[in-house]
Amino acid sequence: MAELLRFRDDEAVDHPAVTVDSFLGQSNANAVRIEPGDDARALLPHLDQVSLVEVNFPVFGDGRGYSAARILREAGYTGELRAVGDVLVDQIALMRRCGFDAFEPDKPLDDADVETALARWPHVYQPTTDGRVPIRTKRHE
C-alpha cells in the first residue's frame, strides 16, 4: 500500500476521509476528500472543524488540485493537506509550494529522489502561503 510522506509533527488522522458531498451533509466528520471537480470553497465555512483534507489526483496532469490547495491555505486552513493518487516526485516541489504538507502517492516515492526534488529550487518567483520570500522581494530588501 501507499506510504505516507508527512511534513507535520501532529498526529495523523487515522480514519478515512469522506466525500465533499457527505461532509456537507453530515457535520461531524473531520477528514474530507476533494476530487478534481469539487469546489474547495464549499469547505471554507467549516474549516475550523477539519483536520485533514485529502486532494485526489487521479492523473498527475489534472492540475485542479493545485488551485484547491491554495484556496484552502489562502482562507487560513492550517490542518493537514494531503495529496493522494497519481503523485510523482516531479510534482511534489510545486505541491509543497501550494500548501500540501503530506503525500500519499499510489506508487511509493524514493526517499533520495524526494530529497533532491525538494532541495532543487534555490529561490522562487511567486509568493504563496508557504512563506518563502520570492525573488522580487529579495531584490528590493
Binding site: 478534481p36 492540475g63 493545485y66
Partner: protein, 543 residues
C-alpha cells in the same frame, strides 16, 4: 535588454540540473514515456516524426549577438547546421538527440537562455511587438511588462498543469503586430487619464476552433497587472474543460460561459487575490524597465539615402519600418528566400545576423512572429552596407508582407500530426509569383499555411489561408480568404471544396486575378475582399 541577475541565473541553472536528472531517469528506464512526456515538454522537447525537436524560448523575441551566436553554435554542434524560427518568436531545432538535450540547455544557460515552458500545458513564452522600443506609434515599450509576466509565469506552482497550453502576448500600440487577440490572454498597455494600465483580452486562439479574444477588462492598473493575470488563470485552471483535449483551451471556457460570466468569475477571484500579496512591488517593474532604456541614438542622423541602386531601393521600401527617431529605421531580414523553407536559417546566416546586430543595431535583433528577423535600430545611412551583406548571404529578399513572405508550419515533412505538407506548397507559391513578377504588383498580401487543423501556420489569420487536410488518404488543400491578425483581427472563411497540390497554387493565383481585376485605388487584397465579398472569388475558382 533584460539581463539575468544571480537569482535568474540560479533558477535556470537549477532547471538544467533538474532536466539532466529527468532525462537520465528516462534513459535508465526509471520514468515511463508517459511520465517523462510532460517533463520534457515543459523543457521544449517534442517527439516529431523522425527525431526530437527542441524549442528554445526567445522571450518577446529579443536577442543580442552573443545569444544569436550561441543559437548558431547549437545548430552546428547538435543539429544539422540550421534552425527554424517560429511564429511564437522562438527557434526550433528539428534533429536533436535525447542524450544531448541537457547539454544544449546547459549551453543556452551560459548566455541567459532556456527552453523552459516552450511546450506543455503551462504558460508559454510571452510574445510581444517585434518593433517594441523602436516603433513610431507605440505608447511605451511593452517588453518590461512581458518580462515581469515571464518571471511570474516561470515555474508557477499552481499553473504548471493547466487544462491546455497557454499563450500570452503583450503590446503597447494601436497597431497589432503580435496577433494579440489570437492569444489566450492578449494585453495592450493603454493610457487612461494620464495613467498607464493594461487592457485584457481573454480567450482567443487558433487551432481547430479559432476565436478572437473578447475584451474582459479595459483598464487594469499597472500595480495590479500580475494579480489580474493570476485571477484569469485560476478561473481557467479550476473550470477549463479537461474531458476533451480539443475543448480544453481557455477560448472554449470563455465561449461556453460567455465573456460576461467569465469576467464576473475573474473579478471575484481578483478581489480575493488582491488581499494575497500576489503583486510584485512597483520597484520591481521599475528595476526591469531600467534594462530597456533607449539606445544612444544620434539625434542628427541623415534621413536621405542614395536610392540610385533600384534593387536596394526596393528592399528599403519593402523591408524597413519607420522608427521613432529621425534618420533611423527597423530593417527586416527576410527568412523567406524563394524556394527556401520559411523561417529556416543556417548557422552562417545566424552569425551574419549577429554581426549586423552588433555593428549596426545596438547589439539587438528580434525574431518576428512572421518568421523573419528584424534589426530594430539602424541608421538609414547604414542601410546600404547592411543590404549588401545580406544580399551576399542570400538574406536580401525584398518581400516583407508580400505573397512570398509566407508563414508555414513544418507540416508532413516533420510533424507527426500533419495531414499534408506545408513547406513544398509554400515553395511552389513563392516560385510561381516570383517567376511571373506579380509579387510586387500585389503589394501587401499575407499568406499562411497549416498542414492540419491545429493551425500552427495561422491559416485562419491569413489574407489568404491554406489548410492541409486528408481526403481519403490524399493530401488536399482548402483555400481560405479574408483573415487578419493585425488590429483589424478577422478569421478567414473557406472558399469551398479543396484542391490538390498543383491545384492550390493555381487557385491562389486565380484569387489574386480577381483582386487585380477589381481593386480600387490603393486597396490591399484584404480591403478588396472585404468590399466585394466571397462571391466573385468563388465564381473565379469554381465557376
Amino acid at each position: 535588454m533584460y539581463r539575468y541577475d544571480h537569482y535568474d541565473q540560479a533558477m535556470v541553472d537549477a532547471r538544467v540540473a533538474e532536466f539532466r536528472d529527468q532525462a537520465q531517469r528516462r534513459l535508465d528506464g526509471k520514468l515511463t514515456e508517459d511520465q517523462f512526456k510532460p517533463l520534457r515538454l515543459m523543457n521544449g522537447l517534442y517527439l516529431q516524426l523522425h527525431a526530437y525537436m527542441l524549442r528554445v524560448a526567445i522571450p518577446y523575441g529579443t536577442l543580442d549577438s552573443r545569444q544569436m551566436r550561441m543559437l548558431a553554435d547549437i545548430a552546428e554542434k547538435y543539429d544539422r547546421g540550421y534552425g527554424h524560427f517560429t511564429t511564437r518568436q522562438n527557434i526550433q531545432y528539428n534533429w536533436i538527440k535525447l542524450e544531448d538535450a541537457a547539454d544544449i540547455l546547459a549551453d543556452l544557460a551560459t548566455v541567459e537562455m532556456h527552453a523552459i515552458q516552450t511546450s506543455g500545458n503551462c504558460i508559454r513564452n510571452i510574445s510581444s511587438d517585434h518593433f517594441a522600443g523602436a516603433a513610431a506609434d507605440e505608447l511605451v515599450d511593452p517588453r518590461p511588462y512581458a518580462e515581469l509576466l515571464r518571471q511570474w509565469s516561470s515555474f508557477h506552482p499552481e499553473f504548471s498543469y493547466l487544462p491546455r497550453k497557454f499563450k500570452i502576448a503583450v503590446i503597447a500600440s494601436e497597431s497589432d503586430r503580435a496577433a494579440m487577440r489570437l492569444h489566450d490572454i492578449g494585453i495592450r498597455i493603454v493610457e487612461k487619464g494620464g495613467m498607464l494600465g493594461a487592457a485584457f483580452y481573454v480567450g482567443g486562439g487558433m487551432g481547430r476552433t479559432p476565436m478572437i479574444a473578447p475584451l474582459v477588462r479595459d483598464f487594469v492598473p499597472l500595480d495590479q497587472l500580475v494579480t489580474y493575470a493570476e485571477a484569469c488563470l485560476r478561473v481557467y485552471n479550476r473550470h477549463g474543460r479537461r474531458d476533451n483535449k480539443y475543448k480544453a483551451r481557455i477560448k472554449i471556457l470563455v465561449h461556453e460561459l460567455g465573456a460576461e460570466e467569465y469576467t464576473r468569475q475573474v473579478e471575484e477571484e481578483f478581489a480575493h487575490l488582491l488581499g494575497q500579496g500576489i503583486e510584485p512591488p512597483l520597484a520591481e517593474l521599475e528595476r526591469i524597465k531600467d534594462f530597456f532604456p533607449d539606445p544612444a541614438f544620434s539625434t542628427d542622423a541623415p534621413t536621405d539615402i542614395d536610392r540610385s541602386d533600384s534593387a536596394f531601393a526596393l528592399w528599403v521600401d519593402r523591408n524597413t519600418h519607420p522608427h521613432k527617431i529621425p534618420g533611423h529605421a527597423s530593417a527586416v531580414i527576410s527568412l523567406k528566400p524563394v524556394g527556401g523553407i520559411p523561417g529556416d536559417a543556417t548557422a552562417g546566416q545566424m552569425r551574419l545576423m549577429a554581426n549586423l546586430a552588433e555593428r549596426y543595431s545596438f547589439d539587438e535583433c528580434r525574431v518576428m512572429h512572421t518568421q523573419n528577423v528584424v534589426l530594430p535600430h539602424v541608421r538609414m545611412a547604414d542601410l546600404h552596407a547592411i543590404w549588401t551583406e545580406l544580399e551576399a548571404a542570400g538574406l536580401g529578399s525584398p518581400n516583407l508582407d508580400t505573397i512570398e513572405d509566407i508563414i508555414a508550419c513544418p507540416g508532413l515533412d516533420y510533424c507527426s500530426l500533419a495531414n499534408a505538407r506545408s513547406i513544398p506548397v509554400a515553395q511552389r507559391i513563392q516560385e510561381r509569383f516570383a517567376e511571373t513578377g506579380r509579387t510586387e504588383v500585389l503589394g501587401e498580401l499575407k499568406l499562411k499555411i497549416s498542414g492540419c487543423i491545429n493551425a500552427c501556420g495561422h491559416h485562419h489569420a491569413g489574407h489568404i489561408g491554406i489548410l492541409g487536410v486528408d481526403r481519403k488518404g490524399v493530401e488536399n488543400y482548402q483555400l481560405l480568404l479574408g483573415g487578419s491578425e493585425a488590429q483589424d483581427t478577422a478569421l478567414a472563411k473557406i472558399t469551398g471544396p479543396g484542391f490538390d497540390e498543383e491545384g492550390i497554387v493555381d487557385a491562389v493565383e486565380k484569387a489574386t486575378d480577381v483582386y487585380l481585376d477589381q481593386r480600387q485605388g490603393g486597396e490591399r487584397f484584404l480591403d478588396t475582399y472585404r468590399r466585394i465579398g466571397m462571391t466573385p472569388f468563388k465564381e473565379a475558382l469554381y465557376g
